[in-house]
């Protein structure tokens, strides 16, 4: 409709039409590639998720039956092992997202502000140093992490200097919130939390917090991805001209206020990108788990992405594996929409008010 309205307005219609055809021809290689390697596989996976395909031969063969939403209900409401595993993986990943996304965003912003300061010496060196973990293969870093966080590893050695008896990180399934509760005297689950359950695991297990093993992965994710997002923030910071900061200085805003009220609002598009990419990346965490723990200890590092792989390739439950992948897709879309809503432009309502309150603040200072 839009295209038609536009083209009817513009002169030289014949050329325009031919241009459009040429346009289609030009993009056809990409359309074909995307179709072949993205669209068709997604459709196939969608079919597998509603079929009883056993993993032999074509999923479109005559003997593969349609089972409706059986695979989905098995995972979401079945109450059996499939549901428990899925619930556990969602819990694990939820804590992973909850810790990694805010921390990595804050840290990368902090680093970006640091290395963007014009007076700092050796900026280039620090930029490279902070970016380094991002360009290293995640498999290599995972292996490194396994060493660092082993029972007698470097991390525990450092902790021992402060007379802290470090846990055996990658073999410790205790959730950090549970550990904390135990430390303040809550030994066992309150009745209400122990008896009620959601997705096959009790609410007491839901509030366990990330396990020690997952905490190590959380630290690793923050360590590796902060560099990437730092680059995005640096780009965002560079697009803010020095005159804006100068103007804020003239208004006698101190450094902290300049950051909160000037820099941060102007970084909002970058912030949106970083959080979106962070959310997607953290919900899809797979390679660290595959290399590091394969879901252990006690399934506390099981994530939906790894569970999907495991169900399909190791257990032969292709339908359930595909269904988990689609549920994960829905979760990511949901969270992205939520954060889009939270970070939406509210300038029209808010801006005058903030300005006024700032003016008032300046008045008061005088």
């Amino acid at each position: 409709m839009v295209a038609r309205a536009k083209s009817s307005r513009s002169p030289g219609p014949g050329i325009k039409g031919r241009q459009q055809l040429a346009g289609w021809i030009f993009i056809s290689p990409v359309v074909v590639l995307l179709g072949l390697f993205l669209f068709v596989p997604v459709l196939m996976a969608a079919w597998v998720s509603v079929s009883d395909w056993t993993g032999r031969g074509s999923p479109f063969a005559a003997d593969v039956g349609y089972v409706g939403t059986e695979n989905y209900s098995q995972i979401l409401t079945g109450g059996g092992l499939a549901t428990q595993d899925f619930g556990t993986s969602i819990r694990n990943n939820l804590y992973y997202v909850l810790f990694v996304v805010p921390l990595q965003t804050a840290l990368s912003l902090f680093l970006a502000v640091l290395v963007s300061r014009r007076i700092m010496r050796g900026r280039g060196f620090f930029r490279t140093a902070f970016y380094f973990p991002s360009v290293t293969s995640s498999v290599a870093i995972t292996v490194l992490w396994l060493f660092l966080f082993s029972q007698s590893g470097v991390v525990n050695k450092i902790l021992s200097w402060f007379t802290i008896d470090g846990p055996n990180w990658f073999a410790d399934p205790r959730g950090v919130i549970h550990v904390f509760l135990r430390a303040v005297g809550v030994e066992s689950a309150p009745q209400a939390l122990a008896t009620n359950e959601f997705l096959g695991i009790s609410w007491w297990q839901w509030v366990s917090g990330p396990s020690m093993a997952m905490s190590a992965f959380i630290l690793m994710a923050i360590f590796t991805t902060s560099g990437t997002f730092m680059l995005l923030f640096i780009a965002g910071l560079q697009s803010i001209g020095p005159e804006i900061e100068e103007a804020a200085m003239m208004d006698r805003a101190n450094a902290w206020r300049r950051f909160i009220h000037v820099t941060l609002p102007m970084l909002k598009p970058t912030l949106f990108t970083v959080i979106t990419l962070g959310l997607i990346g953290t919900w899809q965490v797979f390679d660290q788990i595959y290399v590091g723990t394969q879901g252990g200890p006690a399934k506390t590092t099981l994530t939906p992405a790894y569970l999907s792989f495991n169900e399909a390739f190791n257990q032969g439950d292709w339908g359930e594996g595909a269904a988990i992948a689609f549920i994960l897709f829905a979760i990511i879309v949901f969270f992205t929409i939520v954060q889009r809503f939270v970070l939406r432009e509210r300038d029209t309502v808010k801006k005058p008010r903030t300005k006024r309150s700032q003016a008032v603040a300046v008045e008061v200072e005088r």
């Binding site: 038609r4 359309v31 179709g35 068709v40 031969g57 390739f313 257990q315 032969g316």
Partner: protein, 421 residues
């Protein structure tokens, strides 16, 4: 007006072109290469085509031994055959079956048997082998699904008790003290415990702690596999026995003392005893050559001697182009002398009874492992059972502070769902 129609027309044309391309692509996928089910027409499989052997190797020694054997057979028979080492065997097998082009011969574990036999991926050939009657009965049982003997066990391993000789003597123990009952096991573990170093350590998994269940007359499923018996009184008693040893600090999970598996704990002298299989010989030789140790059969429980055994078979794909040749190859690979060659190369035990004596003579210090074959049991092989066991292992990690009855009750529910399928 005219202009509008023109544009619209060309748009429609290009759209049609795109849709056409997409449709073509789809048919290309459906018709030709990977996704077609080619196994259905059957009949003329034995075209004498080349044979691919997919193995999950423990290291160079195994890879070289299998490659040599397959090459020797290929030369002898004139059929082309080559070995492929899988990085992730399960995943590569699954991919092959899904694509309709699986490897012809491959390693297959007991827990994958039910799924692949059930969906028709496997060729049930084992009963036709020349040496079909010579396999250990318990191994034949492990690869029997719905009363059919599907594939030939390639070798096997049992669990035994490994003892560190130096620590054993330091504790003032002698040859006569080697435990033969649970009480004796407990008492030697106590004597071997030194501060935070427990006398006994093994991996936090049913695959190890299960020996106590079996020794107490328990097990995860009933003998005919029709009933889940996870929370039986025998099992609870067995698990409580292990838990008590842990609470007293005389036994521990290998993971709790900073080792990846029982063998590592044992090799690093983090524990004086462990429960492991005969594969440990290779690990000790390579990683901990200075440790002097001996192998004893596991002590008997209240209900007699028992251990667990692990085995893989040579699976043959139903979709193979050369089933006849594949069976001949397996015949060659499972022959007694070839199995002894494998034993020499990478420390496995032959799956055929006639080779057992020879093996024992060649490896007298490992005799306890093959002697244990007489009372070795299999893990449940129902489809989905390994999922349940994996879940159980997840809970076993917390055994020390947990409640055995509660742990087993939870697993019982899951196992019931699996056996009632």
């Amino acid at each position: 007006m005219k202009t509008v129609r023109h544009t619209r027309g060309s748009r429609r044309l290009s759209l049609a072109a795109v849709t056409g391309t997409a449709a073509l692509l789809l048919t290309a996928c459906g018709g030709g290469s990977g996704f077609e089910d080619e196994g259905g027409d059957g009949g003329e499989q034995s075209s004498g085509g080349p044979i691919t052997v997919l193995i999950g190797s423990s290291g160079d020694a195994e890879t070289n031994a299998v490659t040599d054997a397959v090459n020797a057979w290929a030369e002898e028979s004139g059929t082309d055959a080559k070995v492929q080492v899988a990085a992730d065997l399960n995943q590569q097998l699954a991919q092959g079956f899904a694509g309709g082009e699986p490897a012809d011969v491959f390693y297959l574990s007991t827990d994958q048997l039910a799924a692949y036999a059930g969906n028709g991926s496997l060729e049930p050939y084992a009963a036709d082998l020349e040496n079909s009657g010579e396999f250990f009965p318990a191994l034949e049982e492990a690869f029997t699904y719905e009363d059919e003997f599907w594939c030939a066990p390639k070798d096997f391993s049992t669990l035994g008790l490994l003892i560190n000789n130096r620590l054993w003597e330091d504790a003032g123990l002698t040859e006569d003290d080697i435990p033969t009952t649970w009480e004796e096991l407990r008492s030697v573990a106590e004597q071997l415990t030194d501060g935070k170093t427990p006398g006994l350590a093994f991996g936090p998994e049913y695959q190890r702690v299960g020996v106590f269940f079996e020794q107490n007359g328990g097990g995860l499923v009933s003998d005919d596999g029709s009933e889940a018996t996870v929370n039986s009184a025998e099992n609870v008693e067995a698990l409580t026995f292990v838990q008590d040893m842990m609470k007293d600090g005389v036994a521990a999970w290998s993971s709790d003392i900073g080792a990846g598996w029982g063998g590592e704990a044992f090799g690093k002298e983090l524990s004086a005893m462990t429960i492991e299989g005969n594969w440990i010989a290779g690990a000790m030789e390579n990683d901990f050559p200075d440790i002097d140790y001996q192998v004893a059969p596991l002590p008997a429980g209240p209900e007699g001697e028992a251990t667990l055994q692990y085995t893989n078979c040579w699976g043959i794909a139903a979709d193979s182009d050369n089933i006849e040749g594949s069976v001949e190859l397996v015949d060659y690979l499972t022959a007694a002398e070839q199995q002894m060659a494998f034993a020499d190369a990478f420390g496995v035990m032959p799956s055929v009874e006639p080779a057992a004596e020879e093996w024992k003579e060649a490896y007298p210090e490992m005799a306890a492992f093959i002697d244990s074959a007489d009372f070795a049991r299999n893990l449940p092989t129902q489809e989905g059972a390994n999922d349940v066991i994996a879940d159980m292992n997840a809970q076993l990690a917390g055994l020390k502070g947990g409640n055995p009855q509660q742990i087993l009750d939870g697993v019982q529910q899951n196992m019931e769902a699996v056996v009632s399928q």
